[in-house]
């Protein structure tokens, strides 16, 4: 179990992350709402606890790598990075504006603190596999001290569930298993929606955990709004050395704002000013204490 203090810290940070998501989307006038809100707790758990990183030195070589494959949920990435200290929170309001570092989908050249440019779905996991292969190659060659199978850093890749429709993912999933990449951890945002509707109507993914098991991955299923569940399982995944791990994070799209939850409509629609005010009011009244569907 994580400590009460950590639980409180993460709860408070996740609320700030969600508020900023609403504010930046209202200011941008376009962008995605459901995915970012749904992943706010997972991002918070990573950037405020799990991830080895340095906001003041985003190119630190020993950092863990976090590849966001479904770039369209970048409001949650930007918001978390800002609250973690990578850049001023006020800059979030430049999202999607001309000249902004915060492009509509992440662009590494505009925003050097993101690991990859992303947006076109299905290619993030491949890039993460490439990073993990090199990390192990360098570790075996003794680049980080005595030759070892693990460098001590991890490569995390975040994908959306609908994104798994893309065949390239399954090429990468096979390769990661073949290479027994214990330094690779995939997080699937299992929110059950994609643009045109529910994933099980558009292109059924179930049984998703059995698919990954059949591909020889270690599978964890977590409540994506429960910090203890997320942290405990990712920690166990890190200790899995002989195969890649996948964390299927069950999330509620639009989580934290009742009006936005579970509705495919909010996949790619931003709140307008009034909806934004309503959302902020609700988020603040909850004080970050959003409930997961498993609670």
């Amino acid at each position: 179990m994580i400590s009460v203090e950590l639980q409180e810290l993460l709860t408070e940070k996740a609320e700030k992350v969600r508020e900023s998501i609403i504010e930046m989307l209202v200011a941008a006038g376009s962008g995605h709402t459901a995915g970012p809100l749904g992943m706010a707790d997972v991002f918070t758990a990573f950037y405020f606890y799990l991830l080895k990183h340095d906001p003041l030195n985003s190119k630190w070589e020993e950092r863990d790598r976090l590849v966001l494959s479904n770039g369209h949920i970048c409001p949650v990435l930007y918001s978390t990075l800002a609250h973690a200290g990578y850049f001023p929170v006020s800059e979030l309001l430049t999202l999607r504006k001309f000249g902004s570092r915060l492009q509509g989908h992440p662009h590494r050249e505009f925003a050097p603190f993101v690991e990859t440019s992303s947006g076109p779905l299905g290619s993030g996991l491949s890039q993460a596999v490439g990073m993990a292969l090199v990390d192990r190659l360098d570790a075996r060659a003794g680049k980080f001290g005595a030759p070892s199978e693990m460098s001590g850093k991890y490569v995390y890749c975040f994908v959306g569930d609908g994104e798994l429709d893309e065949g390239q993912n399954w090429e990468a999933i096979m390769l990661a298993a073949k290479e027994k990449l214990g330094n690779l951890i995939l997080i699937v945002d299992r929110n059950n929606i994609q643009i045109d509707g529910f994933t099980e109507d558009i292109m059924p993914l179930e049984s998703l955990s059995k698919k990954f098991e059949a591909f020889n991955w270690k599978v964890f299923e977590v409540n994506g709004h429960d910090f203890d569940d997320i942290i405990t399982n990712v920690t166990t995944a890190k200790a899995t050395f002989n195969k890649p791990s996948v964390i299927i994070a069950h999330t509620i799209p639009g989580k934290g704002v009742h009006e936005f939850e579970f509705k495919p409509y909010w996949h790619g629609t931003p709140p307008n000013k009034e909806q934004g005010e309503m959302a902020l009011k609700e988020l603040r009244s909850l004080g970050g204490k959003v409930k997961g569907e498993h609670e």
């Binding site: 990859t116 299905g122 290619s123 491949s126 292969l133 090429e171 096979m174 390769l175």
Partner: protein
Amino acid sequence: MLAKHLNPNIFNKDVEQQPIRQGFGEGLLIAGRHNENVVALCADLTDSSKISLFKEEFPKRYFEMGIGEQNMASVASGMAAMGKIPFIASYAMFSPGRNWEQIRTTIAYNNVPVKIGGSHAGVSVGPDGGTHQAVEDIALMRVIPRMVVISPCDALEAKKATIAAALTDSPTYIRLAREKTPIITTADSPFEIGKAYVLWSNLNGKLDVKNEIASKKISLIATGALVHKALQAAKELEIENVLCEVINVPTIKPLDEKTILESVTKTELVITIEEHQVVGGLGGAIAELLSEKLPTKIIRIGVQNVFGQSGTPEELIEHYGMGVESIKKAAREI
């Protein structure tokens, strides 16, 4: 006349021949010896792409992707983000054919130094037929910002190009051919990415033929193995009172505008020659350059908006109008 640094046997029937892809394999091996950050990936075609030479010497730095070119391109991108210089190889039809968007977004948009070797380009793949004959690849790569596009004329030039590509930070496409083709250059021939080379010029020569009114001067601008056909045509055209400058363009992007414009200023007529669609490749690039900077009459020799088919390489080169006789015919007509 022929540039001094070229193979002296170039016009002999028994001129030495090697597949251009062999030069890629040998160049990659040398690049790998010079820099331990060079790694190689292949999609189940190690021997065909000649990446096998690197794999044998550096098994730990070689990664087998299985038949998955899209994954291969993006895995290479991730490796480059970690400081490696990855070379990926397959048939050009599949890489950069099938994985264009992965190359565009995860390699070029990310601006990482992945090098793409596309083998079996052109109709000279032969009996495998049109499915396997990439005649669109130059266009696909040339349109992507930052992408450097190299199309070597022989195995030696391919070797030099591969070694040179490993030394740059640019995403780079190297176009390779399957069949053995004549060795045009020598170890002494210069090669630099971004440079075109005049391999033949008789523009200053005296005409043997009395009817000087019929004479004309033409820049034959060629890339890939067809450079040899261009040289052959230039030699044979001399007796028809047609004087030529043959320019080998191994780097199609960035284009060596200076060398090309200097030649065209002298000749005022241009024929481009490539084993590729005339749209978007070398011919397209030259037409774009000339129409902006030096409007000139041009004929583009290449594949004319059709797909390939089975046959021997020579049959196909002739059928699609890219042989010596086709070049001579165009020279007479222009």
